[in-house]
């Protein structure tokens, strides 16, 4: 998970060069969760989705919230981004979401769960998977 976050942060830095202060990322990452073993490329594609669909279309930009924490023996990842009120941007083909779901299934079978939904002007992706660590 620590490596996943390192990659996601590097990506966020690149986007920050492009978007300037329109992009704000809030990281809420529990240190205890950093040794969790997770399939690669879970966090960055979700963050990229959040930037593309949630921040870029909005003139004043937006805030992406990345939360990673443990609950019992479960690792939780929650990503939130604002939903542009009337985005001209097409909905996308949900490729990133489908890919991530597939990888979670391969690694954890039915033990992992992912949901993506709109809630109060936000788009939320929630992932729960068993906490396994090295």
């Amino acid at each position: 998970m620590a490596k996943e976050l390192e990659l996601a942060r590097a990506y966020a830095e690149i986007e920050a060069i492009r978007l300037g202060d329109r992009l704000r990322v809030v990281w809420q990452c529990q240190p205890e969760a950093m040794d969790a073993l997770v399939p690669p490329l879970i966090v960055q594609p979700l963050l990229e989705n959040a930037v593309y669909h949630g921040v870029e279309p909005c003139e004043s930009g937006g805030e992406v919230n990345v939360a990673i924490f443990l609950r019992g023996d479960q690792l939780n990842l929650v990503m939130r981004n604002p939903c542009a009120a009337q985005s001209r941007r097409q909905g996308g083909n949900r490729m990133a979401l489908n890919n991530i779901r597939e990888r979670l299934d391969l690694h954890f079978d039915a033990e992992a769960e992912m949901s993506a939904y709109r809630s109060g002007g936000e788009f939320v992706v929630q992932i729960r998977m068993p906490y396994r660590h090295g």
Partner: protein, 246 residues
């Protein structure tokens, strides 16, 4: 050209604006230009461009809020509409870009030569003074995957070749699909038929000359600052009489 080309940059991303600025700076030797302003969104651009007259706007298409297409539509309503050159990372908008009267369409990353080429196309118009550019007086051509509008003022002549029509400007030649008759009908005041296979731009016509070709005398049309003369057919010889009478 005495006055530098006045350029305005519109892009929501700072690095993209900075890149265009530095490309323009690098091009200043080849084509004098001056960045008179920039904006990070369509609304700011329109507000600024109502205050200041510019020759050309380098305009991003995908921006939050008002997009580049809408900005171009609004700009066209100005008293002195600037030439619009779209600058975008996507080629999906090319056709609609020309529907809103764009002069050119550059794909990011923009290269210096390509930018210069696009600006040169605007420069002669800018040079002709503050006179408003007549909208729509341009011929649309396909050029290596791009759709371009060549302003009529830049056209020297059009010639029917075996299977297509070529359009000649001072800089280069374009190929187009439209038959000469269609073009002649579309621009009766601007284009003059001097041969079954040739239309010349009246504005570029310097005069006519009688030349001896083999055993016969033939009229040829002379263009302003252009080395090649164009043959006038006997059938069209009456244009010389009309030319004489002004």
């Amino acid at each position: 050209m005495a006055e530098p080309l006045r350029v305005f940059i519109v892009d929501d991303e700072g690095p993209a604006r900075a890149r265009l600025r530095s490309l323009l700076e690098d091009s200043a030797g080849a084509l004098p230009n001056q960045v008179v302003g920039e904006a990070a969104c369509g609304a700011d651009a329109l507000a600024a461009l109502e205050q200041v007259v510019v020759d050309v706007v380098l305009l991003d298409i995908r921006m939050p809020g008002m997009d580049g297409m809408e900005v171009a539509r609004q700009l066209a309503k100005l008293h002195h509409p600037p030439g619009v050159i779209f600058v975008t990372a996507y080629d999906a908008h090319a056709v609609s870009a020309f529907e809103v009267g764009a002069r050119d369409y550059l794909l990011k990353p923009v290269r210096a030569e390509r930018l210069l080429e696009a600006l040169r196309r605007i420069a002669p118009v800018a040079d002709s003074g503050t006179e408003a550019r007549p909208a729509g007086r341009a011929i649309t051509v396909n050029d290596r995957g791009r759709v371009l509008r060549v302003p009529l003022a830049e056209v020297l002549f059009l010639r029917a070749e075996l299977k297509y029509v070529t359009l000649r400007t001072r800089e280069r030649e374009f190929v187009l699909d439209e038959p000469l008759t269609k073009l002649e009908e579309a621009f009766p005041d601007e284009l003059l038929r001097i041969h079954r296979s040739c239309l010349v731009n009246r504005g570029q016509l310097a005069g006519f000359e009688m030349r001896r070709l083999g055993d016969e005398n033939h009229w040829v049309a002379l263009l302003k600052d252009w080395p090649d003369a164009l043959p006038v057919s006997r059938r069209q010889a009456h244009v010389i009489r009309m030319f004489r009478q002004g």
